[in-house]
């Protein structure tokens, strides 16, 4: 095992310029694979994060409109016990409007418990003016709504329910979640305040759940659905509500996989053809090694090892080059002053690329290896 490896390394080092060219050629292909793969992954992650990152991925509501959920605590603790569940929060939500001198503005009043407020929607992190809600009678509003109503921190906000109840709340803070629909219509308060405003008592309008793996949200939704009385409650998940987005992401993943497969194939073909030439170049050496007693299997291993060594060198250089390209992309592709994606190295992707490139290189070495297997030393000796 060691001798074929030693000979393989020596063969590669004896033609430094040729080896360098081969490594460079394969590295460029690998770097493109790494760059494109990580770029598409990052873009997809960014898109998913923007779409479902700051919102529940599974929601339980009453199956009848405008009916609230009573005895929700046992449901919360059951859902919380699933491994796939990250956070479970509850909300009391209803429409209302804000009276203004020249009319009224429709809003959505959302009473959230602590989990929903911070862990699911991340509202505390998104407050850019004022502070979080410290007591009953305080609300947070979105940036766009604050602009539309010309209301700022400390102002009173007159909220009127469809039933005609009007309560003035103090604006404690203004948030910016970066989602126009939320920032322009939500008035967020704590659960008790909203329950009291709408006369819900202890009841809530939704149980909201985030999961560890957003793509497994449908599986959790199915599990939760099986647990509940589906005549009374319905379970929805982000995937069924964003089917078009998912289709687009899947198409993108498919094209990404095709690109990766073509690159790997081109790497394998390049290595196989280049090593086949090496078999011809090293025909004389192989003949003499076989005459001296090297076995056919060991002689063939030389070419498998050459493939593997080229694969290791090319993947190391190619991955570094690909990461360099990605870093440069994050630094220079900054429309509007902000990078399109974050520079994030996914170790699993790098490891997978490394394994695939090295395996493909080793397999590519099998073709010249089988050619060397047929070489008879006497043919070389006779040629002189």
């Amino acid at each position: 095992m060691v001798l074929p490896l030693r000979i393989a390394a020596r063969f590669l080092l004896s033609g430094k310029a040729q080896t360098l060219l081969i490594v460079l050629g394969i590295s460029i292909a690998v770097s493109v694979q790494v760059f494109v793969g990580l770029l598409i992954d990052s873009l997809q992650e960014g898109l998913i994060e923007q779409t479902v990152g700051n919102s529940p991925q599974v929601t339980i509501r009453s199956s009848v409109e405008n009916v609230t959920i009573s005895r929700w605590e046992p449901i919360v603790s059951s859902v919380d016990s699933y491994n796939a569940t990250r956070y479970v929060g509850v909300a009391a939500t209803s429409n209302a409007f804000i009276s203004k001198s020249n009319g009224s503005v429709p809003v959505v009043v959302r009473g959230l418990d602590g989990v929903a407020m911070d862990s699911i929607y991340g509202l505390s992190r998104s407050i850019y003016a004022g502070d979080t809600i410290a007591s009953a009678g305080e609300v947070l509003i979105g940036r766009i709504l604050s602009d539309n109503l010309d209301v700022t921190v400390g102002d009173r906000l007159p909220v009127t329910t469809p039933a005609g109840t009007r309560v003035d709340y103090r604006v404690a803070g203004i948030f910016d979640l970066g989602v126009g629909a939320i920032d322009g219509s939500w008035v967020v308060t704590n659960l008790r305040t909203a329950q009291s405003l709408f006369g819900f008592g202890d009841r809530v309008t939704s149980i909201e759940i985030t999961v560890d793996d957003v793509f497994a949200a449908d599986a959790l939704a199915a599990d939760v659905s099986a647990l509940l009385d589906t005549d009374r409650l319905e379970v929805t998940n982000w995937k069924e509500e964003n089917a078009q987005l998912l289709n687009a992401l899947e198409s993108q993943s498919l094209s990404n996989n095709i690109i990766q497969a073509v690159i790997i194939l081109s790497v394998a073909v390049a290595i196989a053809s280049l090593l086949s030439i090496t078999v011809l170049q090293k025909r004389r050496q192989l003949g003499i090694l076989k005459a001296m007693g090297i076995k056919d299997g060991s002689a063939s291993l030389i070419f498998v090892y050459q493939g593997l060594l080229l694969g290791v060198a090319a993947s190391a250089v190619g991955i570094s080059l690909g990461l360099g390209l990605l870093y440069a992309f994050t630094q220079f592709a900054t429309p509007g002053g902000e990078s399109i994606i974050d520079f994030a190295v996914e170790p699993a992707f790098i490891l997978r690329t490394l394994i695939i490139v090295i395996s493909a290189s080793g397999i590519a070495g099998l073709i010249p290896a089988s050619r060397s297997l047929r070489l008879n030393p006497i043919d070389v000796i006779r040629e002189g």
Binding site: F11, K290, M292, G293, I294, K295, D296, I378, I381, G384
Partner: protein, 228 residues
């Protein structure tokens, strides 16, 4: 002394068209520890005969026994093992591996045998480098040695495994007459010290006359066999 090499009714035909028969029912045996030469004109079949003795080529008909083993029945790997353990080759065109240094080339048959070179083997290699007068090029890549140096390194390589047989095809083709004579003296010395059987193929009768037995081949047939 037993027979270390034995050929029985060996024919060799190269398939054509047209078919060309180069050996005709050759019966030949060499005793263990003997010092022999095979002479003949160019195209007489002497190199083919040596390649068959060296198990690099197979006879079309007949049997070859090397160190008591019937080679026809051995597979490619067993033949490779037999060559590695039993036979040292010196080819007409030296055949060193240009990617390796002289010492690496010399140790190659030992390493192919699956062993790491021990200090004894390295000492043996050093001794051979001294005997052949090429110690100065031991670390030099084969590609940067003269033809004469390469040929002497190839001779050292043929001896590293202390084989029972050394087959040498025009082993001094690249050497001047002084070095050539010195090389045969060293072959003779190794033959006497280690009981190694030498079969030297040459077209030069003066070289053949330094051996104990001369076998002449003409048109694929043995025509002369002189024990001196």
């Amino acid at each position: 002394m037993g027979q270390v090499i034995e050929l029985r009714h060996v024919d060799k035909v190269y398939k054509g068209p047209p078919d060309v028969q180069v050996l005709f029912s050759v019966d030949l045996a060499f005793e263990e520890g003997s010092f022999n030469s095979i002479v003949g004109e160019s195209g007489s079949g002497k190199s083919t005969l040596m390649n068959i003795i060296g198990t690099l080529d197979t006879p079309t008909d007949g049997e070859v026994f090397i160190a008591g083993q019937r080679t026809r029945r051995l597979g490619r790997n067993r033949l490779a093992e037999l060559r590695n353990r039993t036979i040292g080759f010196v080819f007409q065109f030296h055949y060193l591996l240009p990617e390796f240094s002289a010492i690496d080339n010399v140790l190659m048959p030992y390493v192919i045998g699956g062993k790491r070179p021990s200090s004894d083997v390295r000492e043996w290699a050093d001794e051979l480098f001294d005997i052949m007068g090429v110690s100065a090029v031991k670390r030099k890549p084969a590609s940067r040695m003269s033809g004469g140096q390469q040929q002497r390194v190839a001779i050292i390589r043929s001896l590293i495994n202390k084989p029972s047989i050394v087959l040498a095809d025009e082993p001094t083709g690249n050497l001047d007459s002084v070095n050539s004579a010195a090389t045969y003296e060293r072959f003779r010395d190794i033959n006497q010290r280690y009981g190694t059987t030498f079969v030297i193929v040459t077209h030069d009768r003066r070289i053949a006359e330094q051996t104990d037995r001369i076998v002449e081949i003409r048109d694929g047939r043995l025509v002369l066999d002189i024990n001196r």
